[in-house]
Subunit: 554 residues, 2 copies
């Protein structure tokens, strides 16, 4: 019997299913961190819960616990001091195997109902999640709330909607009657059982722990699999809260909570690979480095592997009727969360002869300077700047930043900003470096962090060819073009299709290339090396379960 | 502009889409080789065409032709003497790359229209295809007509219907308007372009060259990919006819015929691997040995690989109210096309204490003897027997048969039959061997051909456990149970779900476990080692294309 959760949330599911079919604007979870929506005390309550979690062990009891792990440090300059259960994998997987039995046969309504209830409860914990995301990833509060909370929840819901849709296409029974001329027809009753793949491993990243994990987590759970969540050692808390919420819901539904578990581990140990190679693991969702992603794609033979890896995002400036808007838009895209986004622009191609604008021709240097000025203006108020920039998540990003200074002509140097509340936070303004086309090495790989390269090309055609080559060879998640010529936009559209990368045209106002909206934008295409799948589409869910049929003569 | 083919066949497509949603009985292409359906002279015309093809070069002109290949031999005892173009792969792929451009952007209606027209024309060539299939695979005429013609065409249509359905779920455009409180909403036009993966390689097998190739071929073509067909060197003709038909249709649609090409090659050369590793190849559909299938799954990193490999199909006899029907049904399943079917039963488990039947208790030996008697009765008229058995396709099957004689107690020996029309044909009646549970090696691997093993088990529970283990370890495509107890049938249903294998219950009449009906039966589950995918479901098509979006501010 399905849990009551399904009927409670059926309308929400129907709306989400309609949304993915239309792909216009739709959202289930409000993105505004307002007391009017989330309750007048929601912010202070969420903050209080976050603070109460610091310097103690997180309240999650897991089978196979053999110790503690956890050494997260807020990029805002303090240790979280939170410990999480360290588990014995053999013991844990034994418990998961036991848990799976009832879940596998519970069916789509129960799977969806449980997922939807988890999402609803996560939504109510959005402020707590915001502080958890902020102090593990270094995102500014607003982004941590939105991307870590409602936007991630929307992505989770989107995955549930796709799963539900795919499952709905399979009839549970069929009556088959084949005519035999004058003889009695052949008659069979056929039953089609949905058989989940098994255990799904979700490998989280350090910058968007919830947003990047929820699609895989909910796609797998909504198709009847058990889910093991392996957070990045630097960003455990947001996923620990998520797993805790899921386990609470499962318990209330009288299901085994071990269907959703957390494997926290120390930095630089072998846990991810060990998990990936376990025979029980049949699905892996990964966000992270190309090195690890490619390893999984090649070596985790027993599992279907969905990856989002590194990429080089590119911008071509051909011409514009709104140069101020262009520069402002790009400045924000470069600055937002210090470029620590898989969608942030990195390479900006400008014709060496300059561009035409509504205000007349601008030389290459004028265009570059316009972007530099716009970044400076955006970040001139340091109180506002720190909210946009957030803090640097990882030491290696600082090392990359330092090295990037030496690669070409520095158009805008990076400097440290002091956060009024968190003086220890590591905050850096973006670095803009002009590179020439040779050597290619610098700009044909991802330079993750607050770095953008401004690169002169012979003309726009040359930039288009280069963009295609880089996307095809190294992968990209986003591609942006500015042009007043329809023929150029058309050419860019064709290049984007060839390179398998999402294109944005002439963004000069409040939409940024970095942003990807659930229910409307396909995040990633699976058609270039930056990702082998999209979040979220049919292909992302349809192979997480199989159909096993039974034929019975009537 | 879509070709007129789409509007011509739109109703057919709609009917097929409806059929896959309901999965009751439906067929588009009549399976009866009757002159009333196919035209009074269809049989003699098809035969005449087949005979005119013998001992000459097949009329297919392909780019990059550098010589000839082809040494097919009819299992009915004569060389076909047909040669096919041998192509230079670099040259061929250059032509394919050129051909792809217009096809990629032609869109779903053109893709579907071309596929449907190809299927319609293949249907009109069903008699010609029947003789081609008969004299490459060794199937009897009736099976060659049905499985090689209409049933294969239905499977192709099923793939087109799935492709069309998946493509239909993606809107081509969306208007996205996000409210911004009191400010102007954000407004974007979004366009979603379907981007085919690239070149699809279809690797055919020697026993069902069309039936096993059409799902992949049409799934890829209907999602905008180019298709390279690589037939088994022993069964080129049916796929050469298929490729010829496809190229004719493409030409008429003013599309480049090189979207569908044929790579014939000599026995035991390296062509399959060379093709699989080409960078242009993004999709591979394979039917054949586990060794080659696993190699592709592991080594063809650049492509999505769909495989159907070897398996061990099992039957459990627990009890029956119709032992005569059981024995007759099994006898036919074992004999049909000499067990050269991926779905043919191999291991028959019988409780050592015998079984209960409507006519009283039967001992193990009585049950085994009942099956032996039934095979003898089925095949006593050798004119009829040769039509059921067909001829042995491959020398290695004869070697396996010879070896199987030595593995246990021979309950029914195999003997050669002489075909009245084809005295040189290699026709063998089935071998039934009783094995004990130890050693396991003999019955835990596929013994492809006219061999069945009868194996005593302690009881039905033991047989169920064994069946699960063998399916999980070695893979199975079919599983059959006979029982009058609902609890046993339920247990078998659960075992089948665990083992990811299709179950048939109590088949005693005109439906056989070997048979798999398009639009209703999922052939393979993708959930055990016998296949990594099903023919055909959403997962089989949804990843053959990707979606690339463009966002434009409004």
């Amino acid at each position: 019997m399905p849990t009551p959760f399904f009927s409670t949330h059926q309308q929400l599911l129907n709306d989400a299913v309609e949304a993915i079919a239309k792909r216009g604007y739709w959202s289930a979870f409000p993105e505004i961190p307002s007391g009017k929506i989330y309750g007048e005390t929601a912010n202070q309550d969420g903050k209080a819960v976050f603070e109460s979690q610091l310097n103690r062990s997180f309240g999650l009891s897991l089978p196979g616990t053999i110790g503690k792990t956890g050494s997260e440090r807020s990029p805002y300059g303090f240790s979280l001091g939170i410990t999480y259960p360290k588990v014995d994998l053999n013991w844990l997987f034994q418990s998961i195997t036991t848990a799976q039995e009832a879940w596998r046969s519970a069916g789509p309504e129960t799977w969806a109902g449980v997922c939807l209830e988890i999402l609803r409860r996560l939504n109510r914990r959005s402020f707590e999640l915001a502080y958890a995301v902020m102090h593990t990833t270094g995102q500014g509060f607003m982004m941590a709330f939105q991307a870590g909370g409602p936007h991630a929840q929307d992505r989770g819901l989107e995955a549930v909607a796709y799963a539900w849709t795919e499952l709905s296409h399979i009839p549970r029974t069929a009556y088959w009657e084949k005519p035999q001329g004058k003889n009695e027809p052949l008659k069979l009753q056929k039953n089609y059982r949905i058989v989940p793949r098994g255990v799904s491993l979700v490998i989280g990243c350090s910058t968007f722990p919830t947003w990047n994990a929820y699609p895989g987590l909910f796609a797998s759970l909504a198709t009847g699999n058990a889910v093991v969540v392996k957070p990045h050692p630097g960003a455990i808390l947001p996923l620990a809260i998520t797993v805790e919420t899921a386990r609470d819901v499962l318990l209330e539904a009288r299901l085994d909570p071990n269907l959703v578990t957390l494997v926290s581990h120390d930095f630089n140990d072998n846990t991810a690979k060990e998990l990936a190679l376990r025979p029980e693991v049949k699905l892996i969702d990964f966000t992270g480095s190309s090195e690890h992603g490619v390893w999984l794609e090649k070596e985790a033979k027993g599992a279907l592997v969905f990856t989002e890896k590194a990429g080089v995002n590119q911008v071509i400036i051909d011409s514009t009727d709104n140069f101020a808007g262009l520069a402002k838009n790009l400045a924000f895209s470069i600055s937002l969360y210090s470029g620590q986004m898989c969608t942030a622009p990195q390479n900006i191609y400008i014709p060496e002869g300059g561009i035409d604008t509504a205000g007349g021709h601008l030389s290459f240097d004028q265009v570059a300077q316009g972007i530099v000025d716009s970044v400076n203006k955006l970040l001139e108020d340091s109180a506002r700047a720190v909210e946009i920039l957030g803090a640097i998540q990882s030491e290696t990003t600082l090392i990359r930043l330092e090295k990037a200074r030496t690669l070409g002509k520095v158009l805008l140097d990076s400097h440290r900003l002091v956060h009024p509340q968190f003086p220890e936070a590591c905050i850096q303004t973006p670095l803009l470096v002009q590179l020439s086309l040779q050597p290619e090495d610098y700009y044909t790989q991802e330079c993750f962090g607050p770095v953008a390269f401004i690169i002169p090309t012979e003309n726009t055609d040359a930039a288009l060819s280069l963009a295609r080559k880089v996307s095809q060879q190294r992968g990209s998640l986003t591609f942006s073009i500015y042009s007043t010529e329809q023929s150029v936009l058309n050419a860019a559209t064709d290049i984007a299709a060839d390179a398998g990368v999402a294109l944005s045209c002439n963004l000069t106002a409040g939409v940024y290339v970095n942003q990807s909206a659930a229910f409307s934008d396909y995040h990633g295409t699976g058609a270039n090396p930056a990702a082998n799948s999209a979040l979220t589409d049919s292909a992302f869910v349809s192979n997480r379960f199989r159909v096993v049929q039974t034929r019975i003569p009537v």
